[in-house]
């Protein structure tokens, strides 16, 4: 009978009592906990950065116009802009396209824009676009 118990998957041999044997079910839970802790500590670290657009966007702390401005500025060429570096050149082009898209209303809207209704403009009427 005793020998049968010793064949159990989680049996700890008397000579190795100090060895911790974990249930397979526990390990994923611990991994998950560790992952959550890592995420929380990472988020705490990011919280200190007031310019963290992604986090503030997720938390709904930014207005649409602020997000649009921040997204343009985030990738703005810095003082270290290297005119020979293709990455910097592409970044500048990307910003131009981004501003263009916003202006056309295809990016994040800057503000609700006052759009003249073309047919009524000469009558002095205009409407506020949604």
């Amino acid at each position: 009978m005793a020998e049968q118990q010793n064949t159990s998957m989680y049996h700890v041999p008397a000579s190795q009592e100090a060895v911790v044997v974990r249930s397979p079910e526990i390990i994923p839970t611990e991994v998950e906990l560790a992952r959550q802790q890592a995420m929380e500590s990472a988020l705490d670290a990011r919280e200190a950065d007031p310019t963290d657009v992604d986090r503030r966007r997720i938390e709904g702390l930014l207005g649409e116009s602020t997000i649009a401005a921040a997204e343009i500025a985030v990738a703005s060429p810095e003082l270290s802009f290297n005119p020979r570096d293709p990455k910097h050149l592409v970044a500048a082009g990307r910003q131009v396209v981004r501003m263009r898209d916003i202006e056309r209303g295809e990016g994040t809207p800057i503000v609700s824009e006052l759009v003249i209704h073309e047919q009524q403009r000469d009558k002095g009427n205009f409407r506020l676009a949604a």
Partner: protein, 145 residues
């Protein structure tokens, strides 16, 4: 008398019906949404001036087509009054800037030409941000309140 005119009369105390003209929005106004082509034209006006004065009789365009493609176009009348054009496409890839000209000529620009091209792009971004999109190029914030 329309309601609009009545309101205007009440506000300014003037029975002259032409006084409502001040209520009309100027046709050339910044807030009207423009098409991509119109925006490119505005950008190109800025871009064309980045390389110094345009020779008399020449028309120049320089604009960002997409984030990796820039277009230089110049046209002028030659001695025989024949329209001559030159279009150059600059394509940016991980290896550098490929200059594509008519006649299937492809060359990577280098040296001073590459330096000037990069500086022109930077200036284009800064000037277009301010003059076309009314944004601070450093912060991206709108300059129009």
């Amino acid at each position: 008398m329309s309601v609009l005119k009545k309101v205007a009369t009440l506000l300014v105390g003037d029975n002259n019906t032409s006084s409502v003209n001040w209520l009309k929005m100027p046709k050339k106004r910044a807030l009207k949404k423009l098409t991509e082509r119109e925006l490119l034209t505005l950008e190109s006006e800025v871009g064309s001036k980045l390389f110094g004065p345009i020779p008399k009789g020449h028309r120049r365009e320089f604009f960002c087509l997409d984030e990796r493609t820039w277009i230089w176009h110049e046209e002028w009348l030659d001695e025989k009054r024949k329209l001559t054009t030159s279009t150059v496409r600059y394509e940016i890839n991980e290896h550098g800037v490929l200059k594509v000209q008519e006649g299937a000529r492809y060359t990577y620009i280098e040296g001073e030409e590459l330096q000037n091209f990069g500086i022109a792009i930077r200036m284009y971004y800064e000037q277009v941000a301010r003059e076309v999109y009314s944004r601070d190029p450093a912060t991206g914030e709108s300059l129009v309140q």
